[in-house]
């Protein structure tokens, strides 16, 4: 590393960017001008609208069925309301006529006045206000009428008391006065804590992405990258120089955005409230957040730099940025969810950790341990991402990958023969995934049992059978549906309890690290429990059917595709796909582990029988636990995800011996 050269590169990149009108306008000029314009425009529109509402003429009709002194008083009060007209009665009209007028918004309210006698023998005025909530003017009329009612009531009661010769002061029993004691900063912080983490993360990544795509992919596009590569600068200097540029630009843009936004928000708040103290910003926290933002910025910058280096041109870089942006948005939304608090587990998950850290600081809680964990884990990721960029910079295939990509051929002749390609597998996976979300979820909420059967048969099993059929494959052969060596079946039976224990242990560990708020947990267990069905039906639908259908898809088709990449590589890829398939971040790891076991059985034993049996046992035991769990102590421990962690140890030992045995037993076969 040569600092002089890094600084030279850094300075040049900044100069180059500042001369780029597009970059300057989109990241500097727009935030400075846009926020105030939007905010000020918005607030002036709002206040004008309010004024207009207040000045609006409304007409009401009062049907006075009493026509006495008291109802006169009510009418008198109504007449005094500003911009409110009393409509003259139309001859020979019923109440319904006026209600129709109200419906058409020709008049804005109808009031009927009757009287009745209450239980103590006093006369009570019965006022009935008809209004039309779908019309803004009618609601306005209603609220104006309602405001006058307490005043009228007070007058009526006062006159009644006078008749009884009682002092009107007798009415004043409670004098209420309320004051909000929450310190303004805390209130403001609470609101900000929800929104600001999200905004900050969003701003950081979007501002960095503009610059990042220009810095390497843009150089490739303009043909200037080779110029710097043949210069005497070290690759490391180039990467660091560009990395620093993205960081600097992101920070500047985010600061400008924030400042402009805060000034605008403050302006509006001052316009709306008279209390200036309520809008003072939590400046101390604010500074702390800006400091913490730096590691976040470095992480995004490093990731964006790698993407840009990998891409052929700016357009490609931008399309790679999209998934990153979406992931960041979704992860940062955690600050909107109630019940999530930072802990050591969350502190390790990028973006989520910052969202929760920011939120914590803004609401006034700060934990040094978590803070250091967040910073530490981010720095590790930084180093990894910068290292990746550096490797890409040393990879000639990536650097000279400037030729346009070959056109996308899905129905090409070549692919029609071979359906076991990564591309088809990935498309199939996402298609099924989407079908599960849109169709499967709907079916299962309508009626669980039939929905489950439809999902498994139509969405999971059928697609595989169809594509095997189209490509004229022998289904049994392609999926390896054939007998395995006899002892392998025994291994499945021996292995299923240890693997279950390991899976449950991992689940427990994850629940410990990432505690799920109670409300989510409750929903989950309600779905699973179905004690009112017969045991055999449950076993069939929850254990047998998924065992067959999911194994055909995952260990039959997907494993065949991905094991071309290597034995363990294939197993791990399919296990991750299997884990993600269950659509809960909490289940990816435990389900994935189960997937490793199932795939290992399939590949080693060279038969789909083994994973089907293992899958059936695994799902079957949950049905049994659900049914009889409370009666058998061992099962109840498994069922409540509440086993001692040391159980995992003997389980792992057993699995190790099983692994040894499988390796030996199944290799001999090959040698013979």
């Amino acid at each position: 590393m040569n600092f002089k050269k890094i600084i030279a590169i850094y300075k040049k990149e900044l100069l180059d960017l500042l001369r780029d009108r597009r970059t300057v306008v989109s990241s500097i000029v727009i935030p400075i001008i846009l926020y105030p314009l939007i905010m000020i425009g918005f607030s002036s529109m709002m206040s004008r609208q309010e004024m207009k509402m207040e000045q609006k003429e409304v007409t009401i009709y009062v049907q006075d069925n009493l026509q006495d002194e008291k109802s006169e008083k009510v009418l008198g009060e109504f007449e005094q309301i500003e911009n409110l007209q009393l409509m003259q009665p139309v001859q020979n009209s019923q109440l319904q006529t006026y209600l129709d007028l109200l419906q058409e918004d020709s008049i804005q309210a109808v009031v009927t006045i009757n009287d009745s006698i209450n239980s103590a023998g006093y006369e009570v005025l019965q006022l009935k206000i008809y209004y039309n909530n779908a019309e803004e003017n009618s609601s306005e009329a209603y609220s104006r009428l309602k405001q006058t009612l307490p005043e009228i009531e007070k007058q009526l009661v006062a006159s009644r008391l006078q008749k009884l010769q009682v002092d009107t002061e007798v009415l004043d029993a409670i004098n209420t006065e309320s004051e909000n004691v929450a310190p303004p900063t805390k209130m403001f912080g609470f609101i900000l804590g929800r929104i600001l983490p999200y905004l900050l993360i969003l701003m950081t990544i979007s501002s960095g992405s503009v610059v990042a795509s220009d810095l390497v992919a843009g150089e490739k596009e303009r043909g200037t990258l080779e110029t710097i590569l043949v210069s005497a600068a070290d690759r490391m200097d180039i990467v660091i120089g560009k990395f620093l540029t993205i960081i600097t630009f992101s920070i500047i843009t985010v600061l400008l955005n924030l400042m402009s936004m805060f000034i605008s928000i403050r302006y509006i708040l001052i316009q709306m409230t008279t209390e200036v103290t309520a809008v003072s910003l939590p400046i101390g926290n604010f500074v702390l957040i800006l400091v913490i933002m730096i590691p976040l910025v470095t992480l995004f910058s490093a990731i964006l730099l790698s993407l840009s280096t990998y891409s052929r041109n700016i357009k490609e870089a931008q399309s790679y940025q999209m998934p990153i942006l979406f992931t960041a948005i979704i992860l940062s939304m955690i600050s909107f969810l109630p019940g999530f608090k930072l802990n050591y587990g969350f502190a390790l998950i990028p973006i989520v950790n910052f969202a929760l850290l920011f939120q914590g600081i803004l609401t006034g809680s700060f934990h040094l341990g978590y803070f250091l964990t967040v910073i530490g884990s981010t720095l590790v990721l930084d180093v990894i991402a910068v290292k990746i960029s550096l490797n890409l910079f040393n990879n000639e295939k990536v650097l000279f990958r400037t030729a346009p990509e070959e056109s996308y051929k899905f129905w090409g002749k070549k692919n029609r023969q071979n359906i076991f390609t990564t591309r088809i597998a990935i498309i199939l996976y996402f298609a099924i995934f989407l079908a599960l979300i849109y169709l499967g979820g709907k079916w299962q909420t309508q009626e669980f049992i039939s929905g489950m059967i439809k999902t498994q048969l139509l969405l999971i099993l059928l697609p595989v059978l169809v594509i095997l059929r189209i490509s004229k494959q022998d289904t049994k052969k392609a999926l390896q549906i054939k007998a395995s060596k006899p002892l392998n079946y025994l291994v499945v039976l021996l292995g299923f309890i240890p693997i279950l224990i390991v899976v449950i242990s991992v689940t427990q560990l994850i629940n410990y690290l990432f505690p799920i708020p109670e409300s989510y947990l409750k929903n989950l267990s309600e779905i699973i429990s179905m004690k009112d069905q017969s045991l055999w039906l449950n076993l069939g639908v929850i254990a047998l059917l998924p065992a067959i259908c999911e194994e055909v898809l995952f260990r039959g088709y997907f494993l065949r595709v991905f094991s071309q990449k290597g034995f363990w590589k294939g197993i791990v890829i399919v296990a991750l796909m299997f884990g993600a398939f269950h659509m809960s971040p909490y289940r990816i790891l435990p389900t994935g582990l189960l997937g490793v076991w199932l795939a290992y059985l399939a590949l080693k034993g060279k038969s789909l029988h083994l994973p089907i049996l293992a899958h059936f046992l695994n799902n079957g035991v949950t049905v049994i636990i659900d049914r009889f769990g409370e009666q058998i102590p061992f099962l109840s421990k498994l069922g409540n995800d509440n086993i001692p962690l040391w159980w995992a140890l003997p389980a792992l030992v057993i699995l190790y011996f099983i692994y040894k045995f499988m390796e030996n037993y199944n290799t001999e076969n090959v040698r013979l």
Binding site: K5, A8, I9, K12, D20, E226, A232
Partner: protein
């Protein structure tokens, strides 16, 4: 000085086979010598030069520039090398002077020396009129001058020019050729590639003809004439290509 020994570079093709872009190439370029790599498009000229500039890694074989190995000491190689090709573009938003200053810093030229060097180069290359204009506003010829100045801002002992005259008008091309002659006078070592036979004829001390990654012939213009009995360089080149083809057919038959 450039020494190239059995350099091989292959690229993986879409059908999985390997294309030998450069196939056991060997040649040397001495100080004060201009060697021209002559070949049609796709012969492997650019790939060879890219390996010498250390942006591509050879599959096998080796090469040194001023004694520095291109695999082991890439940075020292680049520090001693001025490299110019059609793919070494300039930053359009910087001025010519800013560009030269920037690359001067990257090549470790001391700050006060950079300014002197810029003055010197802009006199030689006649760049004084547009030194402070942005590159985007310059004509192709002007840009090429800035590119040349950029490649030799650090006054390197070895220069590699990959088709520097391509797409240039006669006057600018002539300017560049005379500049290269000047370099020889300063005892520099120049490797120059072109597919234009006349250009090679005019400039080269030694010609290395390559075709489909392999060397067709090495030698001076006079030697080639003598070898083939032909006078026109175009004819000589075609003759060598035919000879290579015959040779290959012969080995295939065996």
């Amino acid at each position: 000085m450039i020494e190239v020994e059995d350099l091989v570079k292959t690229f993986k093709q879409k059908d999985g086979s390997r294309l030998f872009a450069v196939d056991e190439l060997s040649f040397t370029v001495q100080a004060g010598e201009i060697v021209v790599l002559l070949g049609v498009n796709g012969a492997g000229k650019t790939t060879t030069m890219r390996m010498l500039s250390t942006v591509l890694q050879p599959d096998s074989g080796q090469a040194t520039i001023m004694g520095y190995n291109i695999k082991k000491e890439p940075q020292k190689v680049r520090a001693n090398l001025g490299f110019l090709s059609g793919d070494t573009g300039l930053y359009g938003r910087l001025t010519a002077r800013e560009t030269l200053t920037y690359f001067g810093k990257l090549y470790d030229v001391p700050a006060e020396k950079i300014q002197n060097r810029i003055e010197e180069l802009s006199d030689i290359l006649d760049m004084n009129g547009f030194l402070d204009k942005k590159i985007d506003l310059l004509s192709t010829g002007m840009k090429q001058k800035v590119s040349i100045a950029r490649s030799i801002i650090h006054d390197p002992p070895v220069m590699i020019f990959d088709e520097p005259t391509i797409g240039l008008d006669i006057l600018t091309a002539k300017n560049i050729i005379s500049f290269i002659h000047r370099c020889r006078q300063q005892n520099k070592c120049v490797l120059f590639s072109t597919h234009i036979m006349r250009e090679a004829e005019r400039i080269a001390d030694k010609i290395v003809m390559i075709h489909e990654g392999k060397i067709l012939a090495k030698g001076t213009w006079e030697e080639f004439k003598h070898q083939t009995g032909l006078h026109d360089l175009d004819d000589i080149f075609i003759k060598f290509v035919d000879m290579q083809k015959q040779e290959r057919e012969l080995t295939n038959e065996l």
